[in-house]
Structure formats: C-alpha cells, structure tokens
C-alpha cells in the first residue's frame, strides 16, 4: 500500500518537474495573428474600414473588436481568406464601408495643381512628390489607390485612373469551352 502511494507520489513529482521544465524550455511565442491578418489585408491604407490603416484594423480583428467584412479593397477574396485564417464563416462585404472598385491610381492634373501640398500630407504611403507652390505628381508605382488625396485638394485636380492591363500584367482567363450535354 505504502509502496504504491510512494511510487505514485514519486511519479507525480517527476512528471510535474518534466512538464514544468518543458513549459519553460520549449515555450512557444504567442502566435503572431496580427501579422498574419495584416499579410492578407491589401495595404491600401485607405481607412475605409474605420481604422487609421491596415495594421490597426488587423489588430482590431485579432482582438475581436472588428468584423472581417470591412475592407472594400480586399473584396470578397480578402474576406474569404480572412475567414479561412480565423476559422469563421465568410460574410458579404459590409456596404457601410464602401464597395470594391477596380484597382486604380491617382493622377494629378498638372495644369490645375496650385502646389498647396495638402495631398502630400494626406498620402499614407508618401507617393506624391512636390513642394509648396510647385506642381505635384503621383509616383504611379507607389500609389495604392486609397483616394485619400482627393478630398483635401482645393482645386479638384486629382482623379482616379483604373489600371490598364498590359502584356506583362495580362492573365490567362479561366477556361471557357463547350461541354457536351446528354
């Protein structure tokens, strides 16, 4: 009887020590969920989700404070991927936050621009080049198409230009062909 009790107590102590040691030695860092969510978000930094950028939105989703359907640039595909990552049901895009538009870039009409620098301050990715009282221009390759530069412009010289497909960005289409019916 006593031997059995001692053996059990000894085993408990030993296994407890092993587990305690393993918990310290092989400690797993908390899964970087915010980064994973942020990697799915399109990085437009447009703020249409109601947060000041993609990272804050990702943080809010991870904390359960925001829904996954608030990102119009990400669209249905973005929602799908977020739902897969988080293991929740996908839902349609919340219309309160806007609609998905084709990918575009901002274009400044350089004849109208008065060089007020307001758009430069508004751009979340520093993609507008210019100086006070000098013409501004958008660096097309850096522009995310967030439209944040449009409201501050006092002379309405900024417009959005949808990106055109060229032979380097062209994609093969999903095959469409006749299927035999019985």
């Amino acid at each position: 009887m006593l031997t059995a009790l001692l053996a059990m107590a000894g085993l408990t102590l030993f296994l407890g020590l092993v587990l305690g040691f393993a918990a310290i030695k092989f400690k797993v860092e908390e899964s970087p969920l915010v980064q994973k969510i942020d990697a799915i978000l399109p990085q437009t930094q447009c703020g249409q989700c109601g947060f000041p950028g993609c990272k804050p939105y990702a943080t809010a989703i991870a904390a359960g404070e925001a829904d996954i359907n608030q990102c119009p640039p990400g669209g249905e595909e973005g929602i799908q991927r977020l739902s897969e990552l988080l293991g929740v049901e996908p839902k349609p895009l919340n219309a309160e936050h806007g609609v998905t538009k084709p990918k575009s870039v901002a274009v400044i009409d350089e004849n109208i621009c008065i060089g007020c620098t307001l758009c430069i301050q508004a751009c979340p990715v520093d993609a507008i080049l210019g100086a006070a009282k000098h013409m501004h221009t958008v660096i097309e390759a850096e522009c995310t198409g967030c439209e944040l530069c449009i409201p501050p412009c006092p002379v309405d010289c900024i417009s959005m230009k949808p990106l055109q497909e060229d032979i380097t960005t062209w994609k093969w289409k999903y095959p469409m062909y006749a299927i035999k019916h019985f």
Partner: protein
C-alpha cells in the same frame, strides 16, 4: 555507341514535316515596313534609343537592354524611324506593346560590324556584348542567352547540349538550318564550349531528320562534338527531356539544368551566336517555317519585324478558308491575334489554320479519372490533380503538386479522351499565382512606406517639440564653467555689454598701415559723427 535514356510519357502526333522540308531556305524580300517590338525576350523590355524621323542603319541598336535579364533590339534594315508607338505584337493576349516602326530605304546599308575575339576577351565583357547584340533563345522561350552562358559559381558547365530535336509537328526551320548551315552551328558550339568551359558537346537530333544528321556529322568531323540521334517522340526537344535522353540526368523539381552541370541551347540560337561573334552581326533575322493551309509551305530567312501578312503571302496567295495563324507549333503555339503582328525572335513557325486541318475540338466531357494524362506527362506530374486544383482555384494545392514544373507541352490535352483543355487550366493557374505574387510584393512595399511615414511623422513631431523646448529654455549649452541657472543672467549681462559697446561708438578698424593724412581725415569724420550723435540724443534726453 552511346547509351540513350528515355523520358516518361510523351506522345506521337502526326508530324506534317515533309510539307515544308523539301525546299531550301529562301530569303524573304524586304517588306514594305518593319514593326520591331521592344519586348521580344523574357525579362525587362528594351528602352528605345532612337527618335522619330531618325535614319537608322541595318544592325544599328534601336532598343537598349534594361537590366541583366533583358537584351537589345536592332534595326533589321536601313531606313527611317517613322513611329515609336503601341502596336499589335504576337502575344496570346492581343494587347499592344511598344514597337518601333521603320520605313526601309531599300539600301540595306550596314552599321560597322566588328567580330569579337572571344578567346582573349574578358568573359563578363563578352557576355555584355552578346546582350548588346540581342542574343536570346530562338527555340521559343527567348531567354537572354548571355545569362545562360554564365557558368556562375561553378567554374564550368561540363556538358553542353545543342538542341536540334525539333519535336513539334509542322516545324522544320531547325532541320533546314542544320542541313544548310551546319558549319556555322558547329562554330557557334565551339564559342559556347569556350564560354562555359564544357568538356563534352552533344548535339541531339530526332531520327526523322536524316539529312540534318548527315550534315551535322560532316561538319563535326575533326571536332570532339558528338551528334546523337534520338528516337522521334514529342516532346524530346524540351530542354529537360533532351537532357534526360542524352545524359540520363534530371534536374531536381523546380531546379535548373545548370544544377546538374548541363546547359542546353537551340541550334538556331547557336547559329545566331556564331553570326554575332564571328561576324559582328546582331540578331535581325531568323529562319521561320511558313506552313499549314498555304500553297507552297516553305522556310524563309526573314527580317525581325516583318508583318505576318507579308510573310505568309510569300508562300502563295492566302486561301479563302484560312481562319488564322498559329505562332509556334500546334502543341505549344497560340493563335495570333492579328496578321498585322510582326515576326519576332521567338517566331519559329507560322501555321495557317483551316477548319479542315485544325477542326474545332469536340465538346468536352467530364473527367473520368482515366489517368491517361498522367501516363503521357513527360515531367511525371499528376495532370488530373492539377486540373482539379486549378479548376477549383486552389492554387496553393496546385503549387504543392509542382504546377510550375509543367512545361505546357500539351501531351495531356492530346491524350485526354474527354477533350478537356487541361493546359489552359494550368496557364490560368500559373498566371493567377504570378498576379498574386505581384500584388503581394506591391502590398509589402506599401506597408513599408506606410510604416516609414508613421515613423517620419513621429520623428518630426519630436524634433519640433525639442526645438520648442530649446527656444523656451534659452541657450541649450551654458558657457563652460558656468552653472546652468546663471546662464540667463549671463545672457542678459552680455546683451547689456554689447549695447554699451555700441553706444560708445565704433572704433576705426584696419588703420595701422594708413598714412598720417588719412588718419587725420578719419579722426575729423569721427568727430563730426560724434557731434551729430550728441545733437540727436539731446532732445530725447530732455523729454
């Protein structure tokens, strides 16, 4: 006798080579205009370096290579640049791309050509010269050749393979080139052997080209080159398939053939290399098969930039039932969007199609999982799985099943009893994956820029705050030896002293070397100034 190996799968489609292989290569006459695309190769588009209205000479560089994976483009004949514009190019999308249009003057006046002394030249300089001569793979992939001729970290590439297999049906341009210009191909092979430090050079030719085999054997006499006859099976002309046949070696999945010490070049590329190095000629023309639904199927040596319409007219008046033109072979080629498109470095064959020669495929049936496609796949893939994943847009899964090892040879399409256009699905999946990669790269850049902007705004805020603090607290650094608390007092004292000094009047400076009369004059002026000052200050004192 060398032991030959076999690759998995493959098919035996009807060859249709006899039609165009009977007549010798004809030189195409100068076309009425030339449209030279700037993007004829894999990599960055060449940058135009001529302007509209400029006269160019035959062989003059008109587009400069942009970066390492890129190559130059040259004027195919002498004439005037009439436009630099977006025009239809031979591309499955039918989208326009940047082209230089040249109106030939008919004089065919060459630019100065200097042969390269490849044995003494610095290897890196030689490769740069080849890039500037516009050398790219002429077998269809148009990968810039100079990049493939770099042995890289390896001291050398032991095996060089010259690819004369030409396995696609209908095409005979390499066959005719080997028959008629074997000497030049062997000369080009020697240059490549030197550049790569190859110890063996193998020339692989399918056994359906006996005349080419004979001509190449004759040209190789007295060299250590070996002409190897491979059995006819599609796609033995694929670089990795030919490597397997000749050496038994296979590069690892996703790997390059240089990893196993093999480099493969198409014989037409080897020929252009010989022309470039030994004669200083850039790539401005190529041999091309015009066949299919035409009166006289034929091989032409035509200038790059020749409109397809003018080229096919050389093979007889177009027939009424011609529907369009395939560029490349029937297995891997694509339908040209328009016969206005020009000939490019990759155009090895033009096939006029008719409903009789190329009937529309019968309607597709559901996949019955017969796995005939897997038996035919020369890369040992699982085409039916790739089909399911691509169809369901499960691109990650498709990549796990080595989608990017697919060479799009079309064997699976060819054998599919349900007539499913499998390769179309793989192309769709590949281009979707590439598009996602591009989007991801762009998003990463945007994230970095946004984070930097946030950091910059924080930094500027802090700098402003520091400046403000410095201003309100007086001079930042008190004079040495003085406690910080006294600094304010000291500053006030210094200001008072300065004011006193000012009031005392200005002491004349730099007067040491002046003659006495001048000094006297200065003293008088100072006296007058002092009087005036006193007169001005008096009223204020009385107030």
């Amino acid at each position: 006798m060398r032991k030959l190996f076999d690759f998995h799968g493959g098919v035996h489609p009807a060859q249709h080579k006899a039609e165009s292989a009977t007549l010798p290569i004809a030189t195409a006459p100068l076309p009425t205009r030339l449209i030279v695309p700037m993007h004829q190769h894999i990599g960055n588009r060449a940058k135009p370096i001529v302007s509209v209205g400029e006269r160019v000479l035959k062989g003059q560089m008109i587009g400069q290579a942009d970066g390492y994976i890129s190559c130059a483009v040259h004027a195919p004949t002498s004439g005037t640049v009439s436009a630099i514009e977006m025009a239809t190019v031979p591309h499955p999308s039918g989208l326009p791309d940047l082209c230089i249009r040249i109106e030939p003057d008919g004089e065919e006046q060459w630019v100065e050509r200097t042969p390269l002394d490849y044995t003494t030249m610095n290897p890196s300089e030689l490769r740069n010269r080849l890039r500037d001569l516009g050398l790219a793979g002429m077998g269809g992939a148009v990968f810039p050749s100079h990049a493939k001729l770099n042995p890289g970290r390896r001291a050398n590439v032991p095996t060089l393979i010259l690819n004369g297999a030409e396995c696609e049906p209908w095409i005979t341009c390499d066959d005719l080139l080997m028959r008629e210009r074997a000497d030049q191909i062997v000369a080009g092979g020697k240059i490549m052997q030197h550049m790569l430090g190859a110890s063996e050079v193998l020339i692989g030719i399918e056994d359906n080209k006996p005349e080419a085999i004979q001509a190449m054997r004759a040209a190789c006499a007295g060299t250590d080159f070996e002409v190897i006859v491979a059995p006819t099976k599609y796609p033995s002309g694929g670089a990795k398939q030919l490597t397997k046949i000749l050496t038994g070696k296979e590069p690892p999945a996703g790997g390059r053939s240089t990893e196993i010490g093999v480099q493969v070049f198409n014989v037409a590329t080897v020929y252009t290399l010989a022309r470039a190095v030994l004669h200083g000629e850039p790539v401005i023309s190529r041999v091309i098969t015009v066949t299919g639904n035409v009166e006289r199927p034929h091989n032409f040596e035509a200038l790059i930039g020749t409109p397809v319409r003018e080229l096919v007219a050389l093979a007889g008046t177009p027939r009424a039932d011609t529907q369009g033109y395939i560029m490349g072979g029937p297995m891997m080629g694509f339908n040209l969007p328009s016969d206005q498109a020009p000939l490019i470095k990759a155009t090895n064959c033009l096939i006029a199609t008719s409903p009789k020669l190329f009937p529309a495929p019968p309607p597709a049936l559901p996949c019955i999982r017969c796995t005939l496609c897997a038996q035919a796949c020369p890369v040992d893939l699982q085409p039916q799985e790739l089909y399911w994943f691509s169809r369901a847009k499960e691109f990650g899964k498709a990549q796990e099943y080595d989608l990017f090892d697919c060479i799009e040879c079309g064997c699976c399409d060819y054998v599919c009893p349900s007539n499913i256009p499998l390769v179309q699905y793989y192309r769709f999946a590949k281009s979707e994956i590439w598009a996602r990669e591009r989007e991801k790269d762009k998003a990463d850049v945007a994230r970095d820029r946004h984070e930097f902007r946030d950091y910059r705004i924080e930094r500027e805020k802090k700098e402003r705050a520091d400046k403000l603090a410095a201003k309100t607290q007086g001079p930042k650094t008190p004079a040495p030896g003085q406690p910080a608390a006294d600094s304010k007092q000291a500053a006030i004292q210094a200001a008072i002293d300065r004011a006193k000094l000012k009031r005392a009047g200005v002491e004349p400076k730099n007067v040491a070397d002046l003659p006495p009369e001048k000094l006297q004059e200065i003293r008088e002026i100072e006296a007058r100034r002092a009087q005036l000052k006193q007169a001005m200050e008096k009223p204020s004192d009385t107030l």
